[in-house]
């Protein structure tokens, strides 16, 4: 893999020259040294590996390859603070994230002052210290206005994690004004526009991105993803397959093909394609993530027994690999689709115990709390649906305690949503509507919101909410649970509340 990609790396490195250039303390300062955030390491090998990590992860969006370079960087210099921070920031493995973030803090004194600020930003975004993260990010953007990777990374965080689309777009527009040929920013701007309700602006940017880099797979992959978001599955498949023609090992497109088939209802094809994607990655956490998607196809085609068996197998794999978040996600999926409420609540309690036990947990507190909040949210919904109000209120109390001390958006949204569910059960539909609207991206909340709006006599709002829910076509377990019934209800021209479940 690495040998195969060597030449493209060089081409891309030249193409995107001007990014956050890594330089070791041994190397002579470059002429444009003040234009990018400093990178301090005692090892030239580490500096080069860090740079290549950025090329792969930020410029080419080759995630696995980028992570591998960051790992090489910290192996070459175990006291390379920014290398540890980058690995902790980008990895999808919660255990690795926790360990690397801690190492970044341990060795932060080795880094230059502005580099320390970048490390703080990376860690603060993960730890829910959002105000501090924003302050660090803006100081860096002001000081390094031509650091393209810095701006691109900041904009991605603003749009994808914070929903601060206007701010993300402003950063990207400014960056593209400085360098119209920095195509990773074109890619991100297309997503930001799509996210901020300006979807019509995304395809022209995708055309531009594809035309500029005809031999790169990511432009086609992104185009596929945008078209899938728009619900145009044939076009999505065409673009994903174009990406795979360019690079058959571009695994994001492989899983894109699989998920598109899953959303189209062709679960047999989806499973076959997921298996190809699983073989295509060496990242253990990614393999388990894809395996979860594979298992979900059985629920999608309403085969609960096979689905549960499949999830139990994946749970064993996740447990063996120490992937606690994935274990929790597996239990959440099984609970949502479990027709026996008591058994479903037990599924969730098992997951909660794993996450709550700090002796067992190898997670960053932020990652643990985000997943724990989702578990508790699902628990509150299942309890409400089963008429177990006491259990729902007890769960809400736990979420409330978390929300008092944790500022992360997922925790806050989960709390408001669960509160909405309890208010719904108590017949306070106006209160429920206000709370459920605080969690506008969650299919469970949308499902109950539609029901609450119906109960409150707001039939038009209820239908609009149902249409929003029905139009969701993503890979989440909550979507697989709540979106199909919404589509069915709309098909039957019903605005009444619907019960979840695969069909």
């Amino acid at each position: 893999m690495k040998t195969r990609n060597f030449f493209p790396w060089m081409v891309i490195a030249i193409l995107f020259a001007g990014g956050t250039a890594a330089r070791s303390q041994e190397a002579a300062p470059a002429a444009d040294a003040t234009r990018t955030v400093p990178v301090t390491t005692q090892s030239t090998v580490a500096a080069k590996a860090y740079e290549m990590g950025l090329v792969q992860r930020e410029d080419r969006l080759f995630v696995d390859e980028g992570l591998e370079f960051f790992r090489q960087a910290v192996k070459a210099d175990p006291q390379f603070a920014l290398g540890h921070a980058a690995l902790g920031y980008f990895t999808a493995d919660p255990k690795e994230a926790k360990e690397e973030s801690a190492l970044a803090v341990k060795y932060i004194a080795n880094a230059a002052p502005d580099e320390q600020l970048l490390i703080h930003w990376m860690n603060d975004t993960k730890n829910g210290e959002t105000v501090e993260a924003i302050s660090a990010m803006n100081d860096l953007l002001a000081k390094y206005p031509t650091d393209k990777r810095l701006a691109n990374m900041a904009a991605e965080w603003l749009c994808a994690n914070q929903g601060a689309f206007e701010h993300g777009e402003a950063v990207l527009v400014r960056l593209l004004k400085y360098d119209p040929q920095y195509y990773p920013a074109t890619n991100n701007l297309a997503y930001c526009y799509a996210l901020s309700g300006q979807a019509q602006l995304a395809p022209p940017l995708m055309d531009q991105y594809v035309a500029a880099l005809p031999n790169e797979p990511n432009p086609q992959d992104s185009y596929g993803e945008i078209m899938r978001m728009l619900g145009d599955y044939p076009a999505a498949l065409e673009h994903y397959n174009n990406a795979l023609k360019i690079n058959p090992k571009f695994n994001a497109s492989q899983v894109g093909v699989a998920s598109t088939y899953a959303l189209m209802g062709d679960e047999t094809k989806a499973r076959a394609q997921y298996l190809v994607a699983i073989k295509g990655t060496k990242e253990r956490s990614t393999q388990v993530n894809y395996r979860i998607l594979w298992a979900m196809t059985y629920y999608r085609e309403n085969k609960p027994r096979l689905a549960r068996e499949a999830f139990e197998k994946v749970d064993t794999e996740a447990h063996a690999a120490g992937l606690t978040v994935q274990e929790a996600e597996i239990h959440r999926a099984m609970a949502l689709f479990n027709p026996d409420a008591a058994s479903a609540l037990k599924d969730l309690d098992d997951a909660r115990e794993d996450l709550s036990d700090t002796r067992k947990s190898n997670l960053l507190p932020g990652d643990r709390d985000n997943e724990l909040a989702l578990i508790l949210q699902a628990r509150a919904f299942i309890a409400v649906n089963a008429g177990k109000i006491d259990a729902a209120q007890a769960t809400l109390k736990l979420l409330e305690n978390m929300a008092q001390t944790n500022r992360s958006t997922p925790v806050q949204e989960a709390y408001h949503s669960a509160n909405g569910a309890v208010l719904f059960a108590q017949g306070d539909y106006a209160g429920a509507i206000a709370e459920l609207q605080e969690d506008p991206y969650n299919p469970l909340s949308l499902q109950l919101l539609s029901a609450a709006q119906t109960k409150a006599g707001h039939a038009a709002d209820a239908r609009k909410t149902l249409e929003t829910l029905a139009a969701i076509s993503d890979e989440r377990v909550e979507t697989a649970f709540a979106a199909p019934p919404a589509r069915l209800a709309l098909k039957h021209d019903a605005t009444r509340p619907v019960q979840g479940g695969a069909n």
């Binding site: 995630v63 105000v131 701010h167 997503y191 992959d221 993803e225 709390y415 991206y441």
Partner: protein, 158 residues
């Protein structure tokens, strides 16, 4: 972003945004002071007294200057209604009352950057900005013991 680690989060948001005709996004507003100001927190009531010029000096004796965006900006409209509790027109009149000129002067800025520049250069200034614009040049203070993004933060915009 097609293959980013944030892919799922992005997709989640995107699909929903695409599926509704228009979406309004809110932001939290941050109350900022000069970093030299030892103050760490205010209650909403205390902030209201500053806006009404009933409190004119900080505990260390420095005179207070209020820095806001233009009177008709969405940010100022939101803040006046939240902090003072009345209608926008009523509260705007509070700020333009000639009697307060020497008590708590009000400076209107054209941008959040200008608000921060003024606050950063004036030890007694207190300003209001979109939390996503904060920098290390100002200090964010808590309101009712909560800072932006905290649950129940009172200056959460819609």
């Amino acid at each position: 972003m097609g293959t980013s680690a944030m892919r799922n989060r992005l997709l989640i948001i995107c699909v929903l945004v695409l599926s509704v005709a228009s979406v309004a996004f809110g932001t939290d507003y941050a109350i900022v002071v000069n970093p030299a100001n030892p103050l760490r927190a205010l209650s909403l009531v205390e902030l209201g007294k500053i806006f009404k010029a009933k409190t004119t000096i900080w505990p260390d004796g420095k005179g207070i200057t209020l820095v806001l965006r233009e009177p008709n900006s969405p940010a100022t409209k939101f803040i006046l209604e939240k902090v003072l509790g009345g209608t926008f027109d009523e509260e705007k009149a509070v700020l333009s009352d000639p009697g307060r000129k020497n008590a708590v002067p009000v400076v209107f800025a054209e941008s959040d950057e200008e608000v921060m520049r003024i606050v950063g250069g004036n030890a007694g200034a207190v300003g209001v900005i979109d939390v996503y614009n904060i920098t290390g040049g100002v200090k964010v203070i808590k309101i009712d013991d909560k800072q932006p993004f905290d649950p129940g933060y009172v200056l959460k915009g819609r």
